[in-house]
Amino acid sequence: MITHLLSAEDLDRDTATLVLDTADQMATVSGREVKKLPTLRGRTVVNLFYEDSTRTRISFEAAAKRLSADVINFGAKGSSVSKGESLKDTALTLQAMGADAVVIRHPASGAAHRLAGWVAGSVVNAGDGTHEHPTQALLDAYTMRSRLGRLEGLRVTIVGDVLHSRVARSNVRLLATLGADVTLVAPPTLLPVGVEAWPAEVAYELDPVLPKSDVVMMLRVQRERMNQSFFPSSREYSRRYGLDVRRMGLLPDHGIVMHPGPMNRGMEITPQVADSARSTIVEQVTNGVSVRMAVLYLLLSGGTREVA
């Protein structure tokens, strides 16, 4: 097993599959009356969050607590971080406190890589700037596998602000590793220069891609992007790239709709689609806890101990 989870690139096919299989076992725990395992008793997990992200933080917190780890939440606001302490000094502080794992969310790409150089424990990247969010990709893959039974050969379409999306970067990488076929759909302004080198197809129109999609994943698109001329208006964006009921009808019967949250309802996805039976958005949240339990378990116990 690996020491850190900084990028989906850190996961080869066997390791990624091990995480998903372990998450399956963890999910059975979450279904029990007593949702707790003693596995990480006495271990300390620090949630180091430099960005507000309640959903990701509580998901990691729930995951660590279900494994009986001690959890320390270290938020950027109201702490020494807002007084200008450097990431390195914070890292040394956490190190001195004996953190076995640090889960970091940070607005700067590569922050998790930097942190990993300064602490002895495991580092889990919970989203770094516009770089990666590997546990999101794992929970997305887990959700796809649960719903559709496989990942190999699955046709996954990711729609929206790929340029600024850490979710897209991690998903493209992990899904390629697991044998899925990824298509990115976005206005050309929201695709990075260099996307040609990614293991994914690129399309500018959504309608022709949907009938060939087993999964369509809608990315959050910030309305403010229109102020930097990434698109002319939010209405135009929604018309061209938003998922409404008509477009959802173009999916094959088994096709599912995913969204990493938080959603901009009315922007990239309509409420009717978000709340439809094809939508896995709530499941993704549930699966997030199981997958993060699996990641923490495998990183901290090296996968040597029995789950339960």
Partner: protein, 427 residues
């Protein structure tokens, strides 16, 4: 002043000779000379003292990162006898007072000639011209003006600056970066930035400014110098401009001749620099451009930064790398070992050409009788491993840690006085 007899040095031309340095000049050349303190130069190469067109000495303002004295020592150890100190200090070198202060500090350190560069615009803000004439007329005799770190992006202001400095034989050294295309930019825009999620700095942001400025310089008949050219496209545009007869010169940094943007994958900001490291294709084009003279010279863009400005997240780190003590080794590795330049070519690109561009009459001369005794003695057969703690700079932000570089500086003479002997700075 004592005389020095350098015995048996090989010149850039290949000729082996003694050099008698007396009264600040090369008094005699030839074999079997006598007189003066003997420096055995058997197997050593004597080049005219190197000249750096682009050095950040950080004083006044950031004496924790570098001072005129520490930077001068680094320069002398790198084989330099003159450096041009960039204007982005605090306060900015945009008045006669500040450039005279830097000039005076350079004289006091006495290890190299420190030639201040003046800011083009007040406070480097790109809004109105600084008193260029006052800086030209000052004791510092400023001839090169630059807002380096910032582009003079307003085309009308750039045109006026190019025109205005003709009155005193000045040149505008442009940091070519269209700021509207590089907002928030962190690294070269391409495959690697796409992968790393770091905001891209497109080559077109540099190339479009170079093209614009070359056209402006041609239109008003002025001289333009382009700082730290970093892309293959820039080389093509420069080649075109020179063919048109436009009076444009250009520099390339050692790091852009050797390193590529793949290094950003470490997220270690020691590799963060502006303009950013580019691709292998760019490196090859820059080497070819330097070899054929499209790029006139090598300039270090020596940019010391404190540990706290580098031991942080990539996006929060300051751009820039040390360069003075490693420039010659990097150029030897990128250009000489590859057969692209011989030592005469190195002497031209690192001494004669930059001295000519900067108007430093006392530097860049062939080592002939009567020439100012500004020279460096190099051991081309020695190599060394870069250790940041072993450098004379106050900062340690070298991207070459652990790299073995060819060529050691054995001695450097400034107007006949050794600033470096036996590989060590004299003071």
């Amino acid at each position: 002043m004592s005389a020095y007899l350098i015995r048996g040095a090989r010149l850039a031309t290949g000729e082996v000779t003694d050099l008698l340095l007396r009264d600040g000049v090369v008094a005699e050349t030839g074999r079997g000379l006598s007189g003066g303190e003997v420096v055995d130069a058997d197997g050593l190469l004597a080049l005219p003292g190197l000249v750096d067109l682009h050095t950040h000495l950080r004083q006044p303002g950031r004496e924790d990162a570098e001072t005129v004295e520490s930077g001068s020592r680094a320069a002398a150890l790198g084989g330099y006898t003159a450096v041009c100190a960039m204007a982005n200090t605090d306060p900015v070198a945009d008045t006669a007072g500040v450039v005279e202060q830097v000039y005076r500090l350079g004289r006091e350190a006495g290890l190299v000639d420190v030639q201040p560069i003046g800011a083009v615009t007040v406070g480097l803000t790109g809004e109105r011209l600084a008193e260029l004439g006052a800086m030209a007329d000052s004791a510092a005799r400023v001839r090169v003006f630059s807002d380096d770190g910032h582009c003079v992006s307003d085309p009308a202001l750039m045109r006026r600056a190019l025109e205005y400095v003709k009155a005193f034989g000045g040149v505008i050294a442009q940091h070519a970066e269209e700021p509207r295309l590089t907002a928030g930019a962190q690294m070269n825009e391409g495959d690697v930035s796409a992968r790393l999620g770091l905001t891209g700095w497109p080559a077109a942001a540099e190339e479009s400014i170079i093209a614009r400025d070359a056209l402006l310089a041609g239109h008003v008949g002025s001289r333009l110098h382009v700082c730290h050219v970093s892309t293959a496209g820039s080389v093509e545009i420069l080649r075109w401009a020179k063919a048109k007869g436009i009076r444009v010169t250009a520099e390339v940094t050692p790091h852009h001749l050797l390193l590529t943007d793949e290094l950003a994958a470490t997220y270690d900001p020691v590799y963060k620099v502006n303009p950013p490291l580019r691709t292998t294709e760019d490196v090859e084009a820059l080497r070819a451009g330097l070899a054929d003279g499209t790029i006139d010279c090598v300039a270090t863009d020596h940019a010391p930064h404190t540990a706290e400005d580098k031991e942080c997240e990539w996006a929060y780190a300051r751009p820039g790398m040390l360069g003075l003590e490693t420039a010659l080794g990097v150029v030897a590795r990128a250009m000489v070992s590859t057969g692209l330049l011989d030592w005469a070519g190195v002497a031209d690109r690192m001494s004669t050409a930059p001295a000519r561009i900067a108007g430093l009459d006392g530097h860049g001369h062939e080592l002939r009788p009567g020439a100012p005794a500004n020279l460096t003695l190099l051991d081309p057969s020695a190599s060394w491993t870069v250790d940041p703690r072993g450098l004379a700079s106050l900062s340690v932000n070298t991207p070459y840690t652990g790299l073995e570089l060819p060529v050691r500086t054995v001695a450097t003479f400034l107007r006949g006085t050794p600033t470096v002997l036996d590989g060590k700075a004299r003071w």
